[in-house]
Structure formats: structure tokens, C-alpha cells
Amino acid sequence: MELNEPDLTAAERELAGELAGLGVDPTPSKHAAIMAAVRRSQAARPPVMGRWRFALVAFGAAALLALSSVGAVAASNDALPSSPTYSLRLAGEQFRLAVASPAGREQLRIDFANARINQALAILRQGDRTDAKSLLRDSRSYLAQAKKDLGGLPANEQGQLQNQLNQAEANEHQAELQLNQAGDQGQS
């Protein structure tokens, strides 16, 4: 490498010239081979934007799935037993029961039963006896389970729940009577 460094002394220029000789340039064939390898590595690897795009699409799909699942479960809260989304309603309730505390779980069972009883009475007035009957059957199931498990709770937590349970059982019994009366009227 030629050095044209007017600021350097002759000795410095000589040393600088030796330093220039330490580095070598690639031959054209080496240059071409190295660039070919670089291009091959790029071809083997998806573009960075592609990876980001894939990650974004995957994230979006997961978010959409999660939102649609939450939305479907939320929309199925009032689903009737004859509806295809009733199983989602049951699944959502089972999930909430699974993550609740022992006292909270019994409270939820009573709440689920009450919701079904009220819904059964409402649809019975519209003449849907089949769904009302299924709703009451499921409410009885929830109340029976609550009654069974209530004894395992600490005494201080049982009192209020027991009152709610008694009230719910009474309501359910009333609803059963109305269901039967509606059946009798339908037959006569």
C-alpha cells in the first residue's frame, strides 16, 4: 500500500508502510466464494421481517382465539340446555368452580342454581317446558353438591351459605311446582 502521509517522518512512514503489509486483500476467487457463502446463509434463513411477521400473526391468532373463547363463554351465560352453546356455559362454570376457594365454590353453586331457577321460571312463562325442566334438573344437581360439601367448610363460613342454600332449595321447589302445573295444564 502506498503511503502519502506528509505529516509523518521518514521513519514513521517506513513503519506505516510495514503495517500496511500486515493486511492482505482477498483474491477475486476468495472474494466471490465468501459472498456466495453469505448469500447462501441468507437464503437458508427467513428474512428478519418474515420472522417478526410470523410472530405477530401467531400472537394475533392466539389473542383472537383467546378473545373469541372468552366471548363465546360470556355469550353462553344464558344459553338454554337445548342450545349448542350450553356446553360452553357448563364448561365456563366448571372452570370458575375449579379456581374458586372452598367457600367461594359453594357460593358459586348456589348462584348457578339460582340463575337456572329464575331462567326456568322465565321461559316457563313463554311455554318452553323442556328447557325449564332441564334447567331445574341442573339447578338441583348444583344445590345437591353444595349441600353435600357445605359440611366440610369451617363453621363460621357455613351459616350464611346454609341460609342461601335453604332459600335456593325453596325457590327450586316452587319452580318445580310451577313446572308440574304447566304440565298439567298442557295435558288438560
Binding site: 500500500m1 509523518l8 513503519l15 500486515l22 492482505v24 482477498p26 472474494h31 453469505v38 441468507q42
Partner: protein, 189 residues
């Protein structure tokens, strides 16, 4: 620095692969000279290290924060420096590899007397060793200035020092290098 290369850097960062390869191709010689200075011109892994440097740069172009020719060169040299260090570390962990040195690789020019070739190679090795004994800043300035051929202003841009400071460091580094070489050759003779 040229506007063409500046726009190449911008296009490469934006994901233009053709621009990226043109940029790497334009700086391949600089990277090659740098690695050959650090490892020795005939080192068996020289081409591999240059290749790994450019592949590494290709994969991380989006993280590069610079525009100018000097900044691109500085970025590539910093990647190359790490690759060289990785290879040197792995070579020390495999001592049998040290049999493969630059001496044998250089003794292949039938037009030159063998003793002349050996002396030139030894002088190069002394120079390289003496460079390694300078401070990292001095070594960097001499490498950029004389091995890679950058001007004072470009070295100032790469090292982020004022041009005046680069000039004085260059003089001090050359003096120190001369002194270390003198001491080494006195010891040898």
C-alpha cells in the same frame, strides 16, 4: 464517504437484501485486511472468520445505528474483532492447532529466496506481536490508519475522537511501536 453507500446502508437496514449484499461486498476487503492482520495472512481460518463476520452482520443489520461509510466499516470491524477473539479462544483450547501457522502458508513463492521469505514473515510476526503490546486505543488507530487505509477524519468518526486527538495518538503509537520493535529485535539478535 459516498452518498451511494449511505443510501445503501439505509436500504439495507430497511430490509433490501440486494443493498445489504452490495454493502457487504463493498466492505469485504476492509474486513479481510483486518482479520488477516489479526490472525496472520496465511491463517487457515481467515476466510471462515471473514465469512462469519459478514453473515453475522447480515443477520444483525437492523440493529446497526449508523449511516456513513466509516460507521459501516467501524461496525463490521467490531463484529470481526469479536469473531477473531472467539476463534483465538477456541484455538487456545485446542493446542494441537497451533502447528498450523502462517509460516508454512507463506513459503509458497518460488520466485523469492526462502531465507528472504522467512525474514519477511518473521518481521511481520514481530510487528504483529508489537502491535498487540500497544494500548487498545493505539492499536486501533494504527490499524485503521495504516492497515485499513482510513484517513484521519474517518478514523476520528469511527473512534469518536477529535481529529487532532487521532493525529497525536497516531504519533505516540508509532513511536511506541518502534520502541517495542527495537527492544524485540535487540532481544532476538
Amino acid at each position: 464517504m459516498s452518498d451511494g453507500q449511505n443510501s445503501l446502508a439505509a436500504r439495507a437496514k430497511a430490509g433490501d437484501r440486494l443493498a445489504l449484499n452490495a454493502l457487504l461486498e463493498a466492505h469485504l476487503g476492509t474486513v479481510y485486511r483486518f482479520v488477516s492482520m489479526k490472525m496472520g495472512a496465511g491463517h487457515a481460518e481467515l476466510d471462515d472468520i471473514v465469512q462469519e463476520t459478514l453473515i453475522g452482520a447480515s443477520g444483525s443489520i437492523r440493529t446497526f445505528r449508523g449511516e456513513t461509510n466509516a460507521q459501516v466499516a467501524g461496525w463490521l470491524i467490531s463484529i470481526a474483532r469479536h469473531k477473531v477473539a472467539d476463534h483465538l479462544r477456541s484455538r487456545y483450547s485446542r493446542p494441537t492447532d497451533s502447528l498450523e501457522g502462517p509460516l508454512g502458508a507463506h513459503l509458497a513463492d518460488p520466485a523469492r529466496p526462502v531465507d528472504e521469505q522467512v525474514m519477511a514473515i518473521q518481521r511481520g510476526e514481530h510487528l504483529r506481536e508489537a502491535m498487540g503490546q500497544l494500548t487498545p486505543e493505539q492499536e486501533e488507530v494504527l490499524t485503521l490508519r495504516f492497515v485499513l487505509g482510513f484517513g484521519i477524519e474517518e478514523v476520528a468518526e469511527i473512534t469518536r475522537r477529535p481529529a487532532g486527538a487521532v493525529k497525536s495518538m497516531q504519533h505516540r503509537a508509532l513511536a511506541s511501536l518502534q520502541q517495542k520493535l527495537g527492544a524485540k529485535e535487540t532481544a532476538w539478535n
